[in-house]
């Protein structure tokens, strides 16, 4: 039997304190738990707080607390008097040998009921978050619902209790041992979505991925608390059809939502954007192979003060990428432009040395290439020293009209172990 028992033994206890544990007198009348609060915010321990009313006699009282089949941290038990008529003080706490029990010696100035609160830590309870997003048909916003699933394997049946699963609202439930409860913890309505088409050859060389980006701040109708890690399942509302009185939803995809602090963004990989095609090729730099490396020189000061020139073990390396871009995306039967992001991974010191956008018209032997201005449709964003993103407003394409984006990256001052070799005259 799993239980937490609390008994009140009242009266003068002068001789009783020296009695052996086995001889303690147990009362059969138990004060009812009036309120119970279960707080699972701390990932490792669960705090339980319960309130009971104990009838105290004037003078010394003994309040017993025992438990079985539940992992209570003995040292964490806190006894507090919340409400009493007159002074009530805890004189000492006693731990009987080899028993899951303790008793408090409490002195009361007056006889009468006292509301006490006992707080303690238990193990074997856990909470995990999951999310459900209902995306509007136009994919501009979503309704994000946070669910907390609380697992009670603590060994204790909680009756009517207040559960604080970590985020969101507090709920009152009956919570039996072994049960799991899934509760709606919060609801964020009309959260703006940034829909992104991302190509990253380091992740997937052939396919463009579609992501939703959400921002956890007040401006974006969230920002109430850091979002815990959890699985996000996304559904989209379908256009209303005649034979379906309730608007259908289709499953869009799912992803793990990382822990998201306030003001941070969360990127959710929803699925593959098969209408947006990117192919990446490594090309020679403009000017041929001799432009792959820029040898550097630096001044050299000799012991006698003379200045000469030498080759340090640094040099610049140049890489040129060609991206073949195609966009077959349509909306209502019409071709539409898409915002495409290409991610590249670099390191150390680097610059984007050159960007060129070409429009490719025709096929096979009838192909014409034309360099077009790219300033309005291309933006290189330095994310950090290891990452750069190229944002492209990609117009619709056809079989006979494509775009080639050429980007030259100059990685500067690379150390190398090849000593410059000079010809002997």
């Amino acid at each position: 039997m799993k239980r937490i028992v609390i008994t009140g033994l009242v009266g003068v206890l002068v001789g009783m304190l020296s009695m052996p544990a086995q001889a303690r007198i147990k009362l059969t009348t138990l004060p009812e738990r009036e309120t119970v609060r279960v707080d699972i915010k701390n990932g490792r321990f669960t705090l339980v707080e319960e309130e009971r009313t104990v009838n105290l006699q004037q003078g010394r009282n003994q309040v017993d607390f025992s438990w079985a089949n539940i992992g209570i941290d003995k040292d964490s038990i806190v006894f507090r008097v919340i409400k009493a008529d007159g002074d009530v003080n805890v004189l000492n706490t006693n731990y009987p040998n080899n028993e899951n029990a303790l008793y408090w010696t409490v002195s009361a100035a007056k006889a009468g009921p006292a509301v006490i609160r006992i707080s303690y830590l238990i193990g074997n309870m856990s909470a995990s978050a999951s999310y459900q997003g209902i995306v509007e048909n136009d994919e501009k916003s979503l309704l994000l619902q946070t669910y907390m699933t609380v697992q009670n394997t603590s060994g204790e049946d909680f009756g009517r209790c207040t559960v604080q699963p970590g985020v969101g609202k507090t709920t009152v439930r009956y919570f039996k041992n072994g049960e799991r409860k899934r509760m709606l913890a919060s609801k964020f309505t009309a959260v703006p979505i940034q829909k992104r088409f991302v190509f990253d050859a380091a992740v997937d060389q052939k396919r463009t991925r579609m992501y939703y980006r959400l921002l956890n701040d007040k401006e974006n109708n969230m920002g109430q608390f850091p979002l815990p890690r959890g699985k996000v399942r996304l559904f989209i509302k379908e256009p209303k059809s005649d034979d379906d009185s309730v608007r259908s939803q289709a499953f869009l995809g799912e992803d793990w939502g990382a822990y998201t602090p306030l003001f941070a963004k969360v990127d959710l990989y929803v699925g593959v954007a098969q209408d947006v095609k990117v192919e990446r090729f490594t090309m020679q730099p403009k000017g041929g192979p001799r432009k792959v490396i820029d040898e550097l020189t630096c001044p050299r000061i000799l012991m006698n003060g003379e200045r000469t020139v030498t080759h340090p073990r640094f040099r610049h390396q140049r890489t040129r990428f060609r991206y073949r871009l195609q966009n077959f995306k349509t909306a209502n039967g019409e071709p539409i432009p898409v915002p495409l992001t290409i991610q590249e991974h670099v390191d150390g010191e680097w610059i984007i040395e050159n960007v060129e956008m070409k429009e490719i018209l025709g096929e096979r032997n009838d192909v014409t290439e034309k360099v077009i201005p790219h300033e309005k449709m291309f933006l290189a964003k330095r994310i950090d020293v290891n990452n750069v993103e190229f944002e492209i407003a990609l117009p619709p394409t056809t079989i006979k009209k494509k775009y080639d984006l050429y980007v030259t990256v100059l990685r500067k001052n690379r150390r190398h172990n090849v000593e410059p070799i000079v010809y002997k005259d």
Partner: protein
């Protein structure tokens, strides 16, 4: 033992209206709500199907407890969702409770401020139902036009019968972070067993009988199966985010292990083009034949879009990936099997390129007509070693030239378009259709490829690959001659007999 085929997807729902707050004490009423409709949304990229049921629940004021169980099925317990569709201001879902040690049952606690019927939706994911597309193409004799039929085939290996259901198919690749089948089989956390299989025999007996009873009742209130269709059901196509939704009109019975094949597309007169490719990426010995056609609306003879029904036109939806089987029809209506291959997803407006296998009618013979080494120079280098300059090995520069002749013969009775792609094992400096490059006379290492005599556009694919195009007439031999000079630099010391290393 429960016969899986007899199981319904609509699992028994026991509604227990509990008028007092004591959970265990009172089960006052058990009713079985009417199932109004079932909808299956089946995905082809992952083993996942979304099932949606509408039911009418009878609720009473107070806390209502509804039990839902799905023993012996492949339903993902984490996906089960309950939605109140009407009176949302008076009926609230308080929580979802999974009983101790079970992953095949749950209980919804609902607070109602009204008495009466409330429409609800139960939604969950299940595993075991998939669909695939396949195509049959019938090309005419000269391979300029094709009749194309597209089919969708639904497979049900879930062990369940879904009858009278609306069936929808999703074209697209969704992201799933965990397999539905794994989630369905995952044991309940905590102590004890899980699910039907782990239960003691007597408990299973009780579950079976309860389930059977529920099933009988359920069947009794189900509308009879729709009348047999007189003609093939229509497939309605609709774009949704990055996916396309194919809805099969009417209601279908999706039976266990009885694949259902439906026509999704039937288009005549699709313009077809055959193209022949040879590439060093696949050995560079033999041509492969491809059929190309466009996923675009069909045009009439004046070049205007034809007004055709959706099922009989292209370019209105993407073509899902699937197996393509192609036949050719001769004048006497005999058929020849051309080949079969799988094709990738084709967006609207894009081109389909279907490989139909190696083609021996077009042959390529590649000969090295000449080769030579020139400009051999040995250079001595010095380098600093332990604070002293030492002579480094002599290193050799040389130019190695190959002259290739490619003889291509078409045995086809019609004009043929061919593409040949060659790989060179060094960075390519190309003299092609765009003229001589500025660094043609450079002394840098690389493969200097001279293809300017070829009567075709030359395309530099990447830094190692070059492609040229031929439009070939029947009965003519094409000879393409080109030259590549590999400028090798600082090679050695194996080319240096002295291999000296001494202080200066």
């Amino acid at each position: 033992m429960i016969n899986g085929r007899a199981m319904r997807v609509c699992l028994p729902i026991l509604l227990m209206v509990v008028l007092s707050t004591a959970a265990l004490a009172s089960v006052d009423l058990v009713t079985l709500p009417t199932r109004e409709s079932t909808q299956l949304t089946i995905y082809n990229s992952e083993d996942i199907t979304m099932v949606r049921e509408h039911r009418l629940l009878t609720v009473k004021p107070g806390i209502n407890r509804i039990q839902f169980s799905w023993a012996n099925t492949l339903i993902d317990p984490t996906s089960i969702d309950f939605r109140i569709l009407d009176h949302v201001d008076k009926v609230d879902l308080l929580d979802t409770t999974f009983p101790s040690g079970r992953n095949d049952a749950l209980q919804w606690n609902i607070k109602s401020r009204l008495a009466g019927k409330v429409p609800v939706e139960i939604r969950y994911f299940t595993s075991g139902i998939t669909w695939k597309a396949d195509y049959v193409g019938m090309a005419n004799g000269d391979e300029t036009e094709m009749g194309l039929k597209g089919y969708v085939r639904v497979y049900n290996n879930s062990g369940e019968l879904y009858d009278n259901a609306q069936v929808r198919l999703v074209v697209g690749k969704i992201n799933l972070v965990e397999k539905i089948a794994d989630l369905a089989r995952r044991p309940a956390p905590g102590k004890g067993g899980w699910g039907y299989a782990a239960r003691p025999a007597e408990e299973r007996e009780v579950m079976r009988s309860e389930f059977k009873n529920a099933l009988v009742l359920d069947c009794a209130i189900m509308p009879t199966t729709s009348a047999p269709a007189k003609r093939a059901p229509k497939v309605v196509k609709q774009g949704l985010s990055e996916y396309f939704l194919f809805t099969i009109a009417g209601r279908q019975d999706i039976k266990h292990q009885e694949p259902k094949r439906l026509v999704a597309l039937s288009v005549d007169g699709v313009p077809l083009k055959a193209i022949y490719k040879l590439t060093d990426r696949t050995g560079g010995q033999q041509f492969t034949k491809y059929f190309r056609f466009k996923n675009k609306k069909l045009l009439d003879k004046r070049g205007k879009e034809q007004a055709l029904p959706d099922m009989e036109n292209l370019g209105l939806s993407p073509l899902p990936d699937g197996m393509v089987r192609l036949f050719s029809e001769y004048a006497n209506q005999d058929l020849a099997y051309v080949g079969g291959t799988s094709t990738k997803y084709v967006p609207i407006g894009d081109r389909v390129e279907v490989s139909v296998g190696d083609d021996t009618d077009i042959t390529m013979i590649r000969r090295v007509k000449d080769q030579g080494i020139s400009n051999v120079i040995a250079r001595q280098y010095k380098r600093r070693l332990d604070n002293k300059w030492v002579l480094y090995y002599d290193l050799i520069d040389y130019d190695e030239t190959f002259v290739y002749e490619e003889e291509i013969v078409s045995g086809k009775p019609m004009d043929v378009e061919a593409e040949i792609e060659r790989r060179f094992d060094a960075n390519v400096i190309l003299w092609g259709s765009e003229g001589k490059p500025k660094d043609w006379n450079s002394d840098e290492a690389g493969a200097y490829v001279d293809l300017h005599d070829v009567e075709s556009r030359i395309e530099k694919v990447d830094q190692n690959h070059v492609k040229y195009f031929l439009d070939m007439k029947p009965g003519r031999k094409w000879t393409v001659t080109y030259r590549v000079t590999y400028k090798r630099r600082k090679v050695g010391p194996e080319l240096n007999p002295e291999k000296r290393r001494e202080h200066l």
